[in-house]
Amino acid sequence: MKKKTLFWRKLNDRFHTLFSAASVFIAVTGMILVLYTVVIRGMDAVSLDFFLNSSRPYGVEGGGIANAILGSVMITVFAAVLAIPPAVLAGIFLSEYPDAGRAVAVLRFAANVMMGVPSVLVGLFVYVIIVVPSGHFSGFAASVSLAVIMFPLIMRTTEDMLGMVPNSLRESSLALGMTKMRSILCIVCRSARNGLLTGILLAVARVSGETAPLLFTAMFADAWPSDFFTRPTANMPVLITEYTTNSPFAEMHTAGWGASLVITAAVLAVNIVTRIVFREKNNAG
């Protein structure tokens, strides 16, 4: 048997190490460039008025993005309220009742398909079943479309997180004389709590930047979002789209970038806070 030379094995090792390091560098550079652009272009727009004033029609000076922030928060929170309970319960069903057989397979397949559906189609769907029959755009319709997008995300992470709970914990809770549902809700879900909350928050962060469905549902308004269920509702993604692509005014371009900066900072903050809070809890056990 011929021996491989050590030289080649070491060279091979070096090459792969270098290659993966270079890949990391490229990925990080892309991310930094995006952040840099958003910060540089958006910085000028940010002021106290920017956070306190409602947006103004084209050409009127002194507008802010307060109504869009509020509208976005309302749309996202309401979407979370609609999506989280059924999505978590469906995830529990997938993970804890595998004996249901066909139903589980069908549900999981449907979720996979739903995760692949472009969000613009979800917007169109909600437009057809809610906006058209009711005769008006609304924040509520936007919430429904975001909830439809969140549902499979949360369901699958719930299933995955519960799947990581060791079977011995299920057995030991049942061996104490607990019913199955009690064991799932009080012991299994509690054990997977950090994973479940992280999954939910990441799903919320993911849909909070969705734009296409909102164009079909919430549209936009310069007013404060006081008629959430019956009127077009201001929101960040559509504001950014409108201001940066549709407006002829330089001031609005800047405001669009400013709004981008705010939304980026918010999503980043949610991510970082999630990680810090749950890491500490993890260490404490």
Partner: protein
Amino acid sequence: MQAKIEARDICFYYGDHQALFNNFLSVEKNKITAVIGPSGCGKSTHLRIYNRIFELYRNQRVTGKLLLDGVDILGPDTDILELRRRIGMIFQKPTPFPMSVFDNVAYPLRLHFKLSRSEIADRVEDALKSASIWDEVKDKLSSSGLALSGGQQQRLCIARAIAAEPEVILMDEPTSAIDPVATLKIEELMVELRKRFTVMIVTHNMQQAARISDYTAFFHKGEIVEYNDTKTIFTNPKCKKTEDYITGRFG
């Protein structure tokens, strides 16, 4: 004396594969009965029938009779929640719940009994004392059960099982994931527990069976080869196979 538990002609199947063959076993009250045998001989499978925990999994089924105080518990009339209160179980890996030490032990109390706050506190203390862990955790009852060491976690699980006021405690290799010093503590504890409970223990460790048990059953390939008082099994086994196993010739 009537046996606390009596297995009569127990056969067990994983799907089409038969794992236990015609097991007969009579477990005496307030004694420690050890189940020994090589890996895969069916000793854990046998134990997991006693609280019907195997029913969690599809494709697993049992035939025969299992009498607890003379009543067959494998029948459809058995209240499974009450059965599992009467027959507690300790697993190979410690399984503290993700909650405080206190709440771990209080859980079965709140589950099975109507008690006031102070009664619960008293009984938690009693259970922790019975599991010889009170002195180590009395100052950190509100910290997480997961923060304890492995041996402490296992004794916490024993305290949790005791809190449900069972009659029988099943232990499925309770010390195989635990260091020797902690193992010794748990063995001492088991000898104490015998005064109040009927204890059954599955173990790989023959010295452990010899040290603590009153009776020993030797399993091989799903059959009970020999069952006798522990001294006889280890000093004067009737079967050649038992002798070969306890002298280390196979297994």
